[in-house]
Amino acid sequence: DAMVIQNPRYQVTQFGKPVTLSCSQTLNHNVMYWYQQKSSQAPKLLFHYYDKDFNNEADTPDNFQSRRPNTSFCFLDIRSPGLGDAAMYLCATSRGQVYEKLFFGSGTQLSVL
């Protein structure tokens, strides 16, 4: 009964080779988030979508892009991955109301060789 699904679970890419991570949800939530979590660090918000409205965090590198073609799917594109982009990428959703919890996927562990 997975509600937020991330694929793939593990992704290996080469330095500079574009990579796309995907997230889908069956909750029909309005908001979808992408977080980056490096080892032993707090998850860091990269951006979020409210419906089709894209909101980028000020310190998110230009190398990171996102697409949300419909309510259910959201993609994270890393145009030219560097070694420093190796991390766990977490997708989360929420309905978009005040004071509500986030629903997380299992994450995609990205390695950059």
Binding site: Q41, H48, N55, M88, S94, F103, S106, Q109
Partner: protein
């Protein structure tokens, strides 16, 4: 900007022991969340606290938010190996913006 600091960073306890994890915010909290993360996986929601002095319990886990709404604690009674993982506190830092603490890694020895 708001920051969440957790202590301790890591904790190793013997099965059956009680433990407490703390979360301190640099600003007043409007909605404090506790999540658990198994190693290499996503976050699972545990509890949400909103009101100063609020306390919630689920099974053997109790979370409290202080009256000033700047500190929260998570208490586990009679810990079990299944409690092992990373516990993160989270809070709203703006509209559709959540921040998290760096987490507390808990290991429970059988």
């Amino acid at each position: 900007s708001q920051e969440l600091e957790q202590s301790p960073q890591s904790l190793i306890v013997q099965e059956g022991k009680n433990l407490t994890i703390n979360c301190t915010s640099s600003k007043t909290l409007y909605g404090l969340y506790w999540y658990k993360q198994k190693y290499g996986e996503g976050l699972i929601f545990l509890m949400m606290l909103q009101k100063g002095g609020e306390e919630k319990s689920h099974e053997k886990i109790t979370a409290k938010l202080d009256e000033k709404k700047q500190q929260s604690s998570l208490h586990i009674t009679a810990s079990q190996p299944s409690h092992a993982g990373i516990y993160l506190c989270g809070a709203h830092s703006g509209t559709y913006k959540y921040i998290f603490g760096t987490g507390t890694r808990l290991k429970v020895l059988a």
